[in-house]
């Protein structure tokens, strides 16, 4: 596996920032895009632009067929059993809100939702809003100091009132890979449905929703080398059939009279209005790009980056890593004694190194460790050991400047 050949396909990786070659370690926030995805979007707007699902003319037919074939590509890649189970959304946040709204409509007062202590705000707030509106109860699965969920405690949290368990596959601030198989098994034992927040997962793991047997799986295109503003909600067909629509409008209807509307079939029932056509087609191109790669070799490479970065960072005096779970993806969150993450992030940027600082939209995780935020380096398979060396050298230079 030649990483340089892969890097060569990502134009942004070759620019300079503040006069230095860019080291992009903010992949947890969003990934860079390969030329094939950029070209596919350009081609759509250059040659193929038309609205879909509503024209007899050739251009519209072509656009519809390209959009629908992207859906099929994604279905095959993530192992869904039918393309009607693949709903195009704006992203993970939108997918989760869709479930909170439409699945939420099936819930009664007194029903329960379980989330974990390491969720992104996107997988907390929609459930708080739902529980408030429906008078349901929100329960929290706790974690330990290493940032691992206490799965034994799940047994106590699950009751016959538990309707949904919503947990992240991979923590964006700690890097923990959760044992979602076990969570899904336990939840199904009490008849609860399971939503997995896969925002950080499809780009790092071989995800097969069929094998997982989860009921919903949500992710964003922009974190897996696709465009922004498009994402996916996978849902089991029979469940999606039972759920009422999310938004009303064009495309999601079968027949509208001024008195009453009958709804379209899946997946269109959940796709009101003109969708992000270029985004969907671009996302399809991102999955085609992914399917040409040797994912297992790349996962190994990412693990090597994680191990190497962890080992090098731990040599730095006063540096503490947050998130030391046994199974982790290539994310390292850390703090350096006597320095503020804002200062470290600002100076790293001046040296061309992009990391994220702050709470990473997981304030409860920061509250758990009683810290204001962390510095987070999150790697993709196009990153290299040499780039980690540059970050370490930069830290060696910065830390003495910041300490008294």
């Amino acid at each position: 596996m030649n990483i340089n050949e892969i890097r060569a396909q990502f134009p942004t990786l070759h620019r300079e920032v503040n006069g230095k070659p860019l080291v992009y370690f903010d992949n947890g926030a969003t990934s860079q895009k390969p030329q094939s995805v950029i070209d596919r979007i350009t081609q759509y707007y250059t040659d193929e632009n038309a609205n879909i699902h509503r024209g007899v003319h050739t251009l519209s037919q072509e656009a519809t067929s390209n959009y629908e074939s992207a859906r099929k590509t994604i279905q095959d890649y993530i192992g869904a059993s039918s393309e009607v189970e693949i709903i195009f959304t704006k992203g993970t946040t939108d997918s989760i809100n869709l479930v909170a709204h439409s699945f939420g409509e099936l819930m009664q007062a007194g029903d329960e939702v379980v989330i974990s202590a390491m969720e992104h705000h996107s997988n907390i707030v929609p459930w708080q809003m739902l529980c408030e509106k429906k008078d349901c109860k929100l329960k929290i699965l706790p974690m330990n100091e290493q940032g691992e969920l206490l799965l034994d405690e799940l047994d106590q949290l699950l009751t016959d009132r538990t309707k949904l368990v919503a947990v992240t596959h991979i923590s964006n601030s700690l890097g923990t890979i959760n044992d979602v198989d076990e969570i899904i098994r336990k939840a199904h034992n009490v008849g609860a449905k399971v939503l997995i927040d896969g925002a950080q997962s499809v780009q790092h793991l071989d995800v097969d929703v069929g094998k997982l047997d989860c009921d919903f799986y949500a992710f964003s295109g922009h974190k897996l080398f696709g465009p922004t503003g498009v994402g996916i909600l996978y849902g089991k067909r029979e469940l999606l059939e039972q759920m009422p629509p999310y938004q009303g409008g064009g495309d999601m209807i079968k027949e509208v009279t001024l008195e009453k509307t009958t709804y379209n079939t899946l997946p269109h029932k959940f796709e009101a209005g003109t969708p992000n056509i270029a985004g969907g087609i671009g996302l399809g191109a991102a999955f085609e790009f992914l399917s040409k790669l040797d994912m297992s070799a790349l996962v190994e490479h990412e693990q090597d980056l994680l191990d190497y970065a962890t080992e090098q960072l731990e040599k730095i005096d006063g540096l503490k890593i947050y998130g030391t779970a046994k199974t982790k993806t290539s994310v390292v969150s850390f703090l350096i004694e006597g320095t503020h993450p804002y200062d470290v992030g600002t100076l790293l940027d001046k040296l061309g190194i992009a990391v994220r600082t702050g709470h990473h939209c997981t304030q409860p995780v920061m509250q758990f460790y009683n810290i204001p935020g962390t510095i987070r380096a999150s790697f993709a398979f196009y990153n290299t050991r040499e780039e980690i060396d540059r970050m370490i050298a930069a830290l060696d230079r910065i830390i003495p400047m910041l300490k008294d």
Binding site: N18, G19, T339, H340, P341, Y342, D343, T346, L347, K350, L351, T357, G358, H359, P372, G373, R397, M401, L402, D404
Partner: protein, 138 residues
Amino acid sequence: MDTITEKEEAIIDEFSIYDDWMDKYEYIIELGKDLPLIDDDQKTEDKLIKGCQSRVWLSAEKRDGKMKYTADSDAIITKGIIALLIRVLNNEKPEDIAKAELRFIKAIGLQEHLSPTRSNGLVSMVKQMKMNALKQVS
């Protein structure tokens, strides 16, 4: 030229010798370290300006017709920039502060730190400093 503008010119002059970013930041950090701190027990909620990335405390009063500011931040670069703002605005008349444009920030290449998206509390701090001064005008 009023004294605020003079002080701004002096800062622009000082910064003109740095062509390397790191040297410039080294200097800002030193300024941050020199800034008189607000005692921890004085860092009360009412003085706190919340930013998402770093926090700022600001205290202001008027003595002998001039504004007196002290401030602090948990981030040292933010604190260094505060030191510059205080140097320019301290001991000035409220009416001059209220209309100060603070062009030096851009001139020395630090405007990114005063961008609202940076959420480090600095934009709100400048606003607050001017509000404090304005209250004293009338």
